[in-house]
């Protein structure tokens, strides 16, 4: 692990080496991550890594290159600068080269917990132990993770930012021979995690899922629990509220149009106390709250500096570097405004429908409509006359996520939410449960 002072010194040193020969930014990402994995009710893998990566982005007269290394000795840093110049000289001019973020203040965020940063394998094992024990002999599997992210940014326009954040997660399942139930909890602090409570939730789901029956595919009213909603939101963000997708006309989002039910309001807020983000993006732009949907009306897209320039807009602080394989500026700190219902109330108002715990293996069929196919997992239940009547086997769905949240399609939103897991990873969204008028299930366990 690199000390903050070391990182700043390296960043300043690289900026000085580039001097006035080019525009340059330096990103030094570091930190450490530890993950305790359990399966068949015992810990089988216990891993930890100390990370350090130094990235130099350089642009000379619109010719840009990016180079990175994990080495930090003087020779390696000198080589890094030389290779950046060498690569940039070979590249054609980029018409949308956006220049550098100017010097400006970034918001202070407190997403760091010292105890989590220093968490020991024993502490993670304690969380796992309580999760497993809560199953009362059921077969448990999952993980407990603590992560510390450190980031130092500097550019030749005198912008300097540093930040550190922590995240702790417990996520697992309990299994019977014919069913499984899951639970997930995430926080900036390991001390907030309640392995026993999560274990009891997962075990109760697994118990309720015993003796599931096949259900005929078709269109059903649904109550989607928060992990399903988390997946739904991140698909909308990735394919719709992404400025690069908008520039390429691949996005469904039309700002100002009533594209969603009037109960839906969605925003991206890296600064929220529940988020795990830093106060600046990987281009040194300050982050801020960004409204995406207000009372069902689409508001706009997220931008990094390049996509913003192409669109004639301002960066919204969503420069993600290469982390998403060039996917573009994706909002990744999503908050769906809660409603006024409880999950129990929503179930009680369903004549015949399904309660879904989790989605699995969702893939987009057409990004323009966010038509997605995926499956249910870890607890799917038939609701009849306002009550859960019996568990059903996993179902396949093929559904446009935009249509599912369209006008008059949302029947209720839970009054509270939680940091959800999703098909794109944990902790990207704060999601309440949703009651939707219709969901298109296209296949059952038998195909």
């Amino acid at each position: 692990m690199m000390r903050e002072g070391d990182a700043a010194e390296i960043a300043d040193g690289l900026i000085a080496m580039v001097g006035e020969r080019a525009e340059a930014s330096v990103i030094i990402s570091g930190g450490h991550s530890e993950l305790t994995r359990f399966a068949n009710s015992f810990i089988h893998q216990n891993v930890g890594e100390n990370n350090r990566s130094i990235t130099l982005n350089l642009s000379k007269e619109g010719r840009s290159a990016s180079v990175s290394t994990t080495r930090s000795d003087a020779v390696a840093l000198s080589d890094l600068v030389d290779s950046a110049f060498e690569l940039a000289a070979l590249r054609p001019r980029d018409p949308w080269s956006p220049g550098l973020a100017p010097q400006m203040a970034t918001p202070s965020v407190d997403h760091y917990d010292r105890g989590t940063a220093g968490a020991t394998p024993d502490e993670r094992a304690d969380v796992v132990h309580t999760f497993v024990e809560a199953g009362g002999g059921m077969m448990a599997a999952g993980y407990c993770e603590t992560t510390t992210t450190e980031l130092t940014f500097a550019n030749t326009a005198d912008q300097r930012c540093t930040g550190v954040a922590t995240r702790a997660i417990v996520d697992g399942i309990h299994q019977t021979p014919t069913s499984a139930g899951s639970a997930h909890q995430a926080s900036t602090s390991l001390g907030d995690l309640d392995g026993g409570k999560m274990g009891r939730l997962a075990a109760a789901k697994a118990q309720a899922g015993l003796d599931a029956v096949d259900l005929k595919p078709g269109s059903y009213e649904v109550v989607l629990e928060s992990n399903c909603v988390g997946t739904l939101l991140i698909f909308l963000a990735f394919y719709g509220f992404n400025g690069k997708a908008a520039n390429e006309q691949r996005s469904f989002v039309v700002p100002g149009d009533q594209q969603f039910d009037s109960q839906i309001s969605l925003f991206d807020d890296p600064l929220d106390p529940l988020a795990f983000a830093l106060g600046f993006d990987l281009e040194g732009t300050p982050r801020r709250r960004l409204p995406l949907i207000e009372a069902g009306k689409s508001r706009g897209h997220a931008y990094d500096r390049r996509s913003a320039r192409e669109a004639g807009a301002e960066s919204t602080g969503h420069g993600l570097g290469k982390s998403l394989y060039g996917a573009g500026p994706v909002p990744m700190n999503l908050f769906l405004e809660p409603g006024d219902r409880s999950t129990e109330d929503m179930i009680a108002s369903v004549d015949r429908g399904l309660l879904v715990t989790e989605f699995n293996y969702c893939r987009v069929l057409d990004p323009r409509t966010v038509g997605v196919t995926g499956l249910t997992r870890n607890g799917t239940f038939l609701i009849e006359n306002g009550q859960i009547s019996h568990p059903v086997t996993n179902l396949r769905f093929t559904q446009s996520f935009v249509e599912a949240l369209g006008p008059d399609r949302v029947l209720g939103i839970e009054s509270s939410g939680r940091m959800a897991d999703s098909d794109f990873g944990p902790g990207l969204s704060h999601a309440p449960s949703l009651h939707l008028a219709e969901w298109n299930f296209t296949g059952g366990a038998a195909g």
């Binding site: 993950l35 810990i43 690569l87 054609p92 018409p95 399942i173 069929l365 196919t373």
Partner: protein, 479 residues
């Protein structure tokens, strides 16, 4: 570097590990991407570090650090043992390792043209040129092209005496054309939608002939906008070799991973419909289905000398004449299942723990050809190039979509159809394999993006595949 790895292993064992191994990995990755004749990223990334594994009781401990000093390696070794020891709070049965004789060895990927020695201007010119060709087709909105290269050096040392050096070189890329219509996008890619990657040098890229293929795929992307939808129904399904490769990856490759079968991946990636009690008797598919996991195929992406546990690369039968006969194993999982380790454990760089990974899991060739398959099909759909893929956590219930399809009527290719999808249940689907091509139509496809594990690891896998026909398949599922 062997000294660095040895220092880590010695420290782990001194602190009480029953077994330890360490890998020093130095990896360089170069990537060039181009969109609409603009090179939008040009990157060169180097990583260097050591990952140490220590076995104590029922658990692996693993520690990684981006520091190649012997002192840092020793600290990592001790940390790996301490981390494994903490697992005793939630213990299982003591873990054993299946025997693999220690070797001192070296292996290097054969290649003709060092991909890092080919100038970036040549690579950039190629990508700009092929995107220009695609953009030259009226109606193409987005033309993308990319190339990627990896140069990896690994030094492996185990407490049982392994000392192995490997130098692996991998190359690949892809091009794609996107056409945008009213509320829809259509895309065509070449060589396939995840790119094509192989072990080897820049000769791999030259073999693609991207210049010749850019125009035709661009034209198809535009034609798809006005093509009719693939009609729903149960009919003969003919898949091109790249989609057969994806079908193998998802419904065979992951299902035969022994760690999944044993429940070690249950919470995230999932388990498998396969039960070890059925090994040697379960009918996985028709008699045309013969699958091997072969890490020795020259030029295939998952070809190497030794895996990341020091087990030699080898070919293992997985499905023989439709019967399930083999699994993907590691030393730990093989010991539990009573199998022989097959050299199928690899890690994503130095910082991740080695785990069961597909090698080149692919079909042995059949005796037919695509031309014969089409000519013998009265009513069917021919689908090419994956566009979407989804399968359940036991690798049973799948739905895949392709970029393009063509109706097949009375032995002839008919009109183009868009948004072709098909769905099925794994052993039923493979049981309907009734024609399989071979010869020059067998392609060693390589995927560079297989996700598995927590923390997530991205693996490079290979899949030999040829055009194939499946009878009575449900096609045309839509929203």
């Amino acid at each position: 570097m062997f000294d660095v790895a040895s220092a880590a292993v010695a420290a782990a064992v001194a602190d009480g590990a029953a077994y330890s191994d360490a890998r020093v990995v130095v990896r360089c990755n170069q990537g060039v991407t181009c969109q609409n004749q603009v090179i939008d990223s040009l990157s060169q990334d180097e990583s260097a570090g050591i990952g140490v594994r220590a076995l104590v009781g029922s658990s692996w401990g693993f520690a990684a650090v981006a520091d190649l000093s012997e002192s840092a390696a020793a600290i990592a070794g001790r940390r790996a043992t301490a981390t494994a020891r903490a697992s005793a709070k939630v213990p299982g049965a003591e873990m054993d390792l299946a025997d693999v004789p220690p070797v001192v060895a070296e292996y290097e990927t054969p290649y003709l043209e060092d991909p890092f020695a080919v100038s970036l201007s040549e690579k950039s010119d190629l990508l700009v040129r092929v995107t220009a060709t695609m953009q030259g087709v009226d109606g193409v909105a987005i033309a993308n092209a990319s190339l990627s290269f990896w140069d990896t050096e690994k030094w492996f040392v185990s407490s049982q005496g392994h000392r192995i050096f490997q130098h692996l070189v991998e190359s690949g890329g892809e091009i794609s054309s996107t056409a945008i219509g009213d509320n829809e996008t259509q895309v065509r890619t070449f060589p396939q939608s995840f790119g094509q990657f192989k072990t080897g040098g820049y000769e791999v890229i030259r073999s693609f002939d991207l210049d010749a293929n850019a125009g035709p795929i661009a034209e198809q992307a535009v034609q798809l906008l006005v093509a009719p939808q693939c009609e729903p129904g149960d009919k003969h399904l003919i898949l091109d070799s790249s989609q057969v490769a994806l079908q193998i990856h998802e419904s065979v490759g992951h299902a035969i991973e022994l760690d999944r079968i044993l429940g070690w991946e249950a919470a995230f990636a999932g388990t498998s419909f396969l039960d070890l009690n059925q090994l040697g008797s379960l009918r996985y598919g028709s008699e045309l289905m013969n699958i091997t996991a072969d890490a020795t195929i020259p030029g295939a992406l998952a070809t190497f000398g030794y895996d990341d546990e020091g087990t030699p690369a080898q070919s293992v039968d997985i499905v023989r004449e439709g019967i399930w006969v083999g699994a993907l194993t590691g030393r730990d999982s093989a010991a539990i299942a009573g199998l022989t380790p097959g050299g199928m454990v690899r890690a994503d760089g130095y910082s991740r723990i080695p785990m069961v990974r597909m090698t080149n899991v692919g079909l042995l060739e059949g005796e037919s050809s695509l031309e014969e398959i089409i000519s013998e099909t009265k009513d069917g759909v021919y689908m090419s190039t994956n566009r979407s893929w989804s399968i359940d956590d036991r690798r049973l219930n799948f739905q895949f979509g392709c970029e393009v399809g063509w109706e097949v009527k009375d032995g002839r290719l008919g009109r183009m159809v868009k948004n072709p999808t098909y769905t099925g249940i794994t052993p039923q689907f493979w049981g309907r394999l009734d024609m399989l091509a071979g010869g020059d139509e067998l392609v060693h496809w390589g995927l560079n993006s297989c996700g598995k594990g927590q923390p997530m690891q991205v693996g490079h896998t290979g899949h030999s595949a040829a055009p194939a026909r499946f009878s009575n398949v449900r096609v045309g599922v839509s929203t």
